[in-house]
């Protein structure tokens, strides 16, 4: 009995360290088991890693997958053009329809306004003009509603492209740079297509027309929005010629500081 007790004591002394290690290991195993076998435990361990990964992917998605996604979309669109057209047709159709309806409403409002003036002085003048000119009153009204507008006018030195003066209804981007680029485009076109003494006279851009009139040391560019008819063009030509003759030639040395005022007076 005493021997057994002693042996037990000896074992305790000898294997104390091992026992402790075993107990630690056991508690760790229980901990791991809890973490792996229960949903809550697993979530607590895995969620932070997943969140980090998701954040990384969110932040780097365009770089990591952008080219591949773009390629896939391009391929898909190319391979299924009919389907794409079919899908987009109603949307685009609705947009176009909406735009046309809005524009028609505006036109109708303008026509109404003109008809309200039917018995006014302008109305009678229009009617008389129609009778003598052989043009219907309706055509005259439509013509009046679709009048072209002079948006901007530039007086630019030939060759150097330096801006002498300008008048603008809305302030666009840097007018010095526009003058320079216009001169460069003009020089390029003339160099490429000119057959001797020919000048670039018009540039068309969507609903805008740039009418260019050349003089010896300068040229004038008028930016027009809306449909340009012959009557308007002739009138503008005449105005530009008069301006060039009376303002620019009279002054000899072109006064840049006075130019804006002159342009505003002549073309506003």
């Amino acid at each position: 009995m005493v021997e057994g007790y002693r042996f037990k004591k000896l074992k305790e002394i000898l294997f104390e360290q091992d026992r402790r290690a075993r107990e630690e290991l056991q508690s760790k195993l229980i901990e791991i088991e809890k973490g792996v076998n229960t949903r809550e435990g697993m979530e607590a361990r895995v969620n932070p890693i997943l969140e980090d990964k998701v954040t990384f992917l969110q932040q780097n998605f365009p770089t990591l997958f952008g080219p591949a996604v773009t390629q896939a979309i391009k391929r898909e669109i190319k391979e299924s053009q009919d389907e794409v057209v079919e899908a987009l047709y109603p949307i685009i159709g609705k947009m176009v329809k909406k735009y046309i309806v809005k524009e028609m409403e505006l036109l109708s409002e303008r026509i109404d306004r003109q008809l309200d003036l039917a018995f006014s002085w302008e109305g009678w003048l229009r009617r008389i003009k129609g009778w003598f000119g052989g043009v219907s009153e309706k055509d005259i009204i439509t013509q009046q509603l679709m009048e072209p507008t002079l948006e901007e006018i530039f007086v630019i030195q030939q060759n150097s492209g330096l801006l002498i003066g300008s008048y603008s209804k809305n302030n666009t981007i840097d007018q010095d740079m526009i003058a320079g680029m216009l001169t460069a485009i003009k020089a390029f076109v003339q160099d490429a297509f000119s057959r001797g003494g020919e000048d670039l006279e018009m540039i068309e851009y969507e609903t805008y027309k740039l009418i260019i009139r050349n003089f010896k040391s300068f040229y004038i560019t008028a930016v027009i929005s809306g449909p340009v008819n012959m009557e308007f063009k002739n009138e503008l030509d005449q105005q530009i010629l008069n301006f060039a003759e009376q303002v620019l030639k009279q002054e000899g040395q072109i006064r840049e500081d006075k130019m804006k005022g002159h342009l505003e007076h002549w073309f506003s």
Binding site: L162, D174, A184, A192
Partner: protein
């Protein structure tokens, strides 16, 4: 009132004219104009001796075998930058001939000769080149920005003189 002057940048293909302008100005027009019509215009307003000078910089593309640039782009210039590449002797070999041609077209217009890409040559090669070339050349680097502002201000001062 601002004084506006036209400045042209001339030099062979790839000498770094566009990079020099990019260093000096905040660009408004795309560089695509350079490949389409052979010129791109930028603007920089500088103050020199109390005067505001608006520099309209015409960056003219260097001619290559497949692209001919209209010579009319140079007309009316009031200042010229002649740019060459310090690492490529072919870009400054016939410099005197080209400068003479420019003098014929734009007589009396101030010219600033700029040797670009200084950052790409060793100090020994640079010293050797400097002894060989004209003393009026300004050496700069569009990459590091060395002497870029100085080049434009010096030309501006000459144009206003």
């Amino acid at each position: 009132m601002d004084i506006t002057k036209k400045v042209v940048l001339i030099g062979k293909f790839g000498v770094g004219k566009t990079s020099l302008v990019q260093r000096f100005v905040h660009q408004k027009f795309s560089d695509e104009y350079l490949t389409t019509i052979g010129v791109k215009i930028d603007k920089k307003i500088v103050e020199i001796n109390g005067k505001k000078l608006s520099m309209l910089i015409w960056d003219i593309a260097g001619e290559s075998s497949h692209q001919k640039i209209p010579s009319s782009y140079k007309l009316g210039a009031q200042g010229i930058f002649y740019v060459f590449d310090l690492t490529r002797p072919s870009t400054f070999g016939d410099m005197s001939v080209e400068l003479n041609e420019l003098e014929n077209i734009l007589s009396g217009v101030p010219i600033k000769i700029v040797g670009n890409k200084k950052d790409l040559i060793s100090p020994e090669s640079f010293d050797a080149l400097r002894k060989q070339l004209s003393p009026n050349i300004l050496y700069c680097s569009a990459k590091t920005g060395e002497n870029v502002e100085k080049a434009f201000y010096e030309l501006g001062t000459e144009m206003l003189a």
